[in-house]
């Protein structure tokens, strides 16, 4: 029963997003394409933070690893979008694995700071290799790098479909993971690490797997953002882009499958809407965050799940 309801909900979301490209004005269609890619990033963050309890402040590094892993190959070697996306996916996963091997020796606030510092070193490395990476200015990807199986991703239609395809894949993977045995172990690690260990699970291994999965999602999102919107730049490696997915996840609901998408959607439109009303829009964004955390501390879906829909994954 529950399983059917859960799959129906998620497939309905995908169907709604498919229909949205025909129903919404073009401005919002492109925004949705951006939001879906950012949501993939946030879902990746959610796997580490929401499910496994790893509060990282360095996910910009994984996003940037994917963005540059795909982007540089297409810029310098003329790779097309599909191999670039795969390269970005791999780069994100490998970077997360490397960081995890070291950073997972720490916990709590030390883990936050260590991941933050790795990300900062990554950002500076991009600047240091400016002749290759375009440094702070970044690079515009060539047309070849933005073609996927013959379709140009600079056109709005194919771009939206690719974004939707990646988002749907990520969403269903995320749902699958959340409902799998692995997902249960990840949650166990978040809830009670010592008990999990005494059930035979190696905390280090589980967390490393979660972080690598998270890195794969983040890397894919980074590569997709570069390929779909044509720009690769160091600003995506700054701490701001480590905080963004955390905000999306906390806003939408940590440890929920749809929460990251909801958070990205709301945050995007909160900024877009407020900046149209006033030049002091950051104030309202800040106030909204404080209000939210006071009155819905588990995020929107987290609160809904707690109050009404216990079956939400």
């Amino acid at each position: 029963m529950t399983a059917a309801r859960i799959w129906a909900l998620h497939l309905a979301l995908i169907a709604a997003l498919f229909a949205a490209q025909y129903l919404l004005p073009p401005y919002h269609v492109t925004n949705l394409a951006r939001i879906m890619v950012l949501a993939v990033f946030a879902m990746g963050y959610n796997l580490a933070f929401g499910y496994t309890g790893l509060l990282s402040l360095g996910h910009a590094l994984f996003f940037a690893a994917g963005m540059y892993g795909g982007g540089l190959l297409s810029y310098h070697l003329g790779w097309t979008a599909l191999p670039a996306l795969i390269a970005g996916l791999a780069a994100g996963g490998m970077m997360a694995g490397a960081v995890g091997l070291l950073a997972l020796r720490t916990t709590g606030v030390s883990f936050m700071i260590v991941t933050l510092m790795f990300a900062q070193a990554g950002y500076l490395t991009i600047l240091y290799f400016g002749p290759t990476t375009g440094g702070d200015e970044g690079l515009n990807l060539p047309a070849a790098g933005r073609s996927l199986l013959g379709f140009s991703l600079s056109a709005d239609g194919p771009r939206y479909l690719v974004a939707l395809g990646l988002f749907s894949t990520a969403l269903l993977c995320c749902l699958g993971i959340a409902r799998s045995r692995l997902g249960r172990i990840m949650v166990a690690m978040r809830e009670n690490e010592e008990r999990s260990r005494m059930l035979g699970y190696n905390p280090f291994t589980v967390k490393l797997i979660a972080l690598v999965l998270s890195g794969l999602f983040s890397g894919l999102a980074g590569a997709a953002y570069g390929v779909l919107f044509g720009y690769v730049g160091a600003s995506f490696a700054t701490i701001q882009y480590s905080i963004l997915p955390m905000l999306y996840v906390l806003l939408g609901g940590a440890g929920t499958v749809i929460g990251p998408f909801l958070g990205a959607l709301l945050m995007f439109y909160l900024i877009d809407f407020a900046s149209g009303l006033t030049s002091a829009y950051l104030f309202f964004v800040g106030a909204a965050l404080v209000t939210l955390v006071l009155f819905a501390p588990k995020g929107i879906l987290g609160t809904i799940r707690e109050r009404w829909l216990g079956w939400l994954p």
């Binding site: 401005y27 600047l127 375009g134 702070d136 709005d156 900046s275």
Partner: protein
């Protein structure tokens, strides 16, 4: 890429300016023109590290807009500008181009100063096929990195600026140069083009000191300046520029020091009479547009300053301590008038004529000095989408920047690296 700092706004003034800005954007001016307005989108650094430039860009653009509307608008239609904050961030910049073009229905979009925002936004402008006119000074337009819809008709790029000044530096200040620059693209442009230009003069750059972009304190880098340096060339950007210049002064103190030549970016929006900057007396700066009205200023200089609300010292008329970003902000004024000229040449009637507008812009060449171009005459290169003008070298005399040399347009010429007109729309 650039930033600047340091003037001293009074709180009352800022609130007033903010209120005026809100009124102006809420109620487009209809004086002297009729019909549906032409809408110009403006990507603005309202927040983020570019915010101190954004304030003056907005103010200058408003002044030019008023003048254009008083003169009958564009093609007899009134003009309005929609400002939208890009947070000095490339991702948001691209979203803002989208918002201004698709949602607000702007005819063209004006771009902003920081080059990473420009480069991040240009692909989307190209996809939307909306003319994107930037004021960023970077070499990214003429280098061929961007696309046919992106143009820079209002300000000379950094490569040309440097090429024009280097001969004067070599001939007048010294042949052995040490450069201090920020360790990212904008600084690297300075490093590469100035080093090449000096070599062509028989001079030599003997040390290149790159400062990491996250740095807030600089003294420890100064000992790397070789003792036989004849000229110290500095360019710095970001909120820490004043710290940089002050620490340089502390470092040299009353001891011997080389000739110092700086890019005004190191001191844009900073009062040259700030305590701690006394050591700058006698040193030289590049200026795009002279902050202190030169004795031989052109006939339109006074009217331009009055329109923007800037006095002869380059400070706000209402607050002498509120120094403007004078060397850069003229670019928004001149870009607006370039849009007007391009639209009128193209017989622009609506978004369907955007391509005709770009072609009309590309057909422009000589742009004479006038109220439309208060910084000086320019030549637009339709192939590279880049405009070229004259540059100024000033010396600090009695705490003021006094122009001592003006380059010719030819001094800043270089070979075309791209022909955008051969690219598809």
């Amino acid at each position: 890429m650039k930033t600047a700092k340091t003037f001293q706004p009074s709180r009352r003034l800022i609130l007033k300016a903010g209120a005026a800005g809100m009124l102006a954007s809420a109620m487009p001016s209809f004086v002297g023109a009729q019909g549906a307005p032409i809408r110009i989108g403006f990507q603005l650094h309202r927040t983020g590290i570019g915010a101190s430039y954004g304030r003056w860009y907005e103010r200058t653009a408003q002044a030019a807009l008023k003048l254009i509307n008083e003169g009958g608008g564009i093609n007899g239609r009134p003009v309005e500008i929609l400002f939208e904050d890009d947070a000095t961030d490339p991702k948001r910049g691209s979203e803002v181009v989208e918002k201004l073009t698709v949602q607000a229905g702007c005819d063209v979009v004006m771009g902003t100063l920081f080059s990473h925002v420009v480069i991040g936004s240009a692909p989307r402008a190209g996809e939307l096929k909306v003319p994107y006119l930037v004021c960023s000074e970077g070499y990214h337009v003429a280098s061929g990195m961007l696309n046919r819809w992106t143009m820079q008709p209002g300000i000379t790029d950094v490569r040309s600026q440097i090429s024009a000044m280097a001969p004067w530096v070599g001939a007048n200040l010294g042949k052995k140069v040490t450069m201090i620059f920020p360790d990212f693209a904008f600084g690297h442009d300075h490093r590469d083009f100035f080093t090449k230009a000096m070599a062509a003069q028989g001079g030599e750059v003997i040390a290149q000191i790159a400062i990491p972009p996250t740095e807030t304190s600089f003294t420890r880098y100064f000992p790397q300046i070789p003792a036989d340096t004849e000229v110290l060339y500095h360019v710095m950007v970001g909120p820490a520029v004043l710290t940089f210049v002050k620490e340089l002064g502390e470092f040299y103190g009353s001891g011997a020091k080389p000739q110092i030549f700086g890019f005004i970016d190191s001191l844009e929006a900073v009062d040259t009479a700030t305590p701690g900057l006394e050591f700058l007396e006698g040193t030289h700066f590049w200026e795009g547009h002279n902050r202190v009205t030169p004795a031989d200023a052109g006939e339109h200089e006074a009217a331009y300053r009055a329109a923007v609300g800037v006095d002869d010292m380059g400070a706000s008329v209402s607050d002498a301590k509120d120094v403007s970003t004078y060397s850069h902000m003229f670019s928004t004024w001149e870009t607006l008038f370039a849009i007007k000229a391009g639209m009128e040449a193209a017989g622009y009637t609506g978004p369907a004529d955007r391509q005709k507008f770009v072609e009309a812009m590309e057909a422009m060449a000589d742009l004479p000095y006038g109220m439309e171009r208060p910084q000086g005459a320019k030549r637009f290169n339709g192939k590279t989408h880049q405009v070229f003008g004259t540059q100024n070298i000033s010396q600090v005399q009695g705490g003021k920047l006094i122009r001592v040399h003006q380059t010719s347009m030819e001094d800043g010429a270089y070979e075309d690296a791209v022909d955008y007109t051969a690219m598809a729309f």
